[in-house]
Subunit: 210 residues, 2 copies
DNA sequence: CGCCGGCTCCCCCGATCGGGGGATCGCGGC
DNA sequence: GCCGCGATCCCCCGATCGGGGGAGCCGGCG
């Protein structure tokens, strides 16, 4: 029984120590995988990536300091061939879409099994993309809709905090009529019945967070 | 070096295999703790509890089928001395409050460290209660406010889905004026500026879920 | 260059919201 | 038995929302 020639070097990025422990335990049982580092947030992830240059990075999305999507963007700008797998609880198609646009090669849900974890790592390391059907379906469902613009998201965030159109206008330094125009667009794009509905849809789909 | 007389028998309840793996790894490193079972949802938890009668149960709150709070209620009704620790990501004071009222002896955040996990298990097993300062502070902050009534929560859930007062009334089989009265009460209790604000506050504090 | 989409601003107007008031009923605790 | 509270219903009314219309400016893309 020979030692494997070159094990897949893996970096974990997640702010939950217990989850990192779990992944470490799974990787320890795989002869062809080595855990080379653990990062607790996006900033840490970028630094650890520079230091270890792992073959595959498992990245959570919501973390303190630098978020996961920003970390992916940063890493991929320095190392365009970096293979990064998102590992998170699904928070909507918009969230997933942003991560994929930032350069993620795969997606894993925290509810997935050990087997799927190691298979995904091997697939992504081999250059394949890997996407759970739920995620693919979620994205496909809204592939036709055009996404909210940055300004629309900004307006909606203010509305979610209980601001009237006039207050949003004051905060963003624009006219109330402009805010109303943005809200019209948001309601149409999200197929929402009113502003409250728009906020809950946007939360579900990951356009805004709480 | 003697084998410990009686190890603490622990049951894990969580629908994330990787997290269970992590906890299992931590417990394996503790001489005075034995993992006696793993459950993937509330229903499973009740059955496993009956079978193993563990000393301490680590319980996630949001799971498919039977939820964590309901599982705690069920278990404590059959075994009033059961020691159950909630292990979850913090989802608001109302959520935590419900779990404690159901009979949880402690609270753990998934972002906590190995050390805190084992310390909490030992403390709770010894009959002490254990509560992270963040949670205690979150609950204390709203200790004075009175909670939303069941009906108010029901109304708010409908409102969150984009229903106008009249539509909510039709769905609940009551008059529109009654819905308005409930909403007035909700806005006052949550100190919300409008219905949208009420919904986001209620989501943050765990009165409603998405 | 022309077009499209995003951002900005404006008007009209009916529908809805939210704050104020008040009222009845039933249930559980003191 | 009385009180409090939740649930139910009712009225008034000003403020806000949301749908309809239109219009100008700018930056990117074919």
């Amino acid at each position: 029984m020979n030692e494997p020639r070159a094990a897949i070097r893996v970096l974990i990025v997640d702010d939950h120590p217990l989850l990192r422990e779990g992944i470490a335990a799974v990787l320890a049982g795989q002869a062809d995988m080595d855990l080379v580092g653990e990062a607790v947030d996006g900033q840490d992830a970028v630094e650890q990536f520079r230091r270890h240059q792992p073959d595959v990075t498992l990245m959570d999305l919501q973390m303190p300091r630098l978020g996961g999507t920003a970390a992916i963007t940063q890493i991929r700008s320095e190392y365009p061939s970096a293979r990064i797998v998102v590992l998170t609880t699904y928070k909507g198609d918009a969230q997933a879409m942003r991560a994929l646009k930032a350069g993620a090669s795969g997606y894993l849900l925290k509810s997935m099994l050990r087997r799927e974890l190691v298979e995904t790592i091997r697939d992504v390391h081999a250059g394949r993309r890997r996407m759970p059907p739920e995620i693919a379906a979620g994205i496909a469902e809204h592939a036709a809709d055009d996404a909210l613009s940055a300004r629309e998201v900004e307006v909606l965030r203010c509305v979610a905090l209980g601001n009237a159109n006039r207050e949003v206008a004051a905060q963003l330094g624009i006219a109330e009529e402009t805010v109303k125009a943005h809200m019209k667009s948001v309601l149409a794009k999200l197929s929402a019945k009113d502003r409250t509905h728009a906020v809950t849809i946007a939360l579900r789909r990951g356009f805004i967070e709480m």
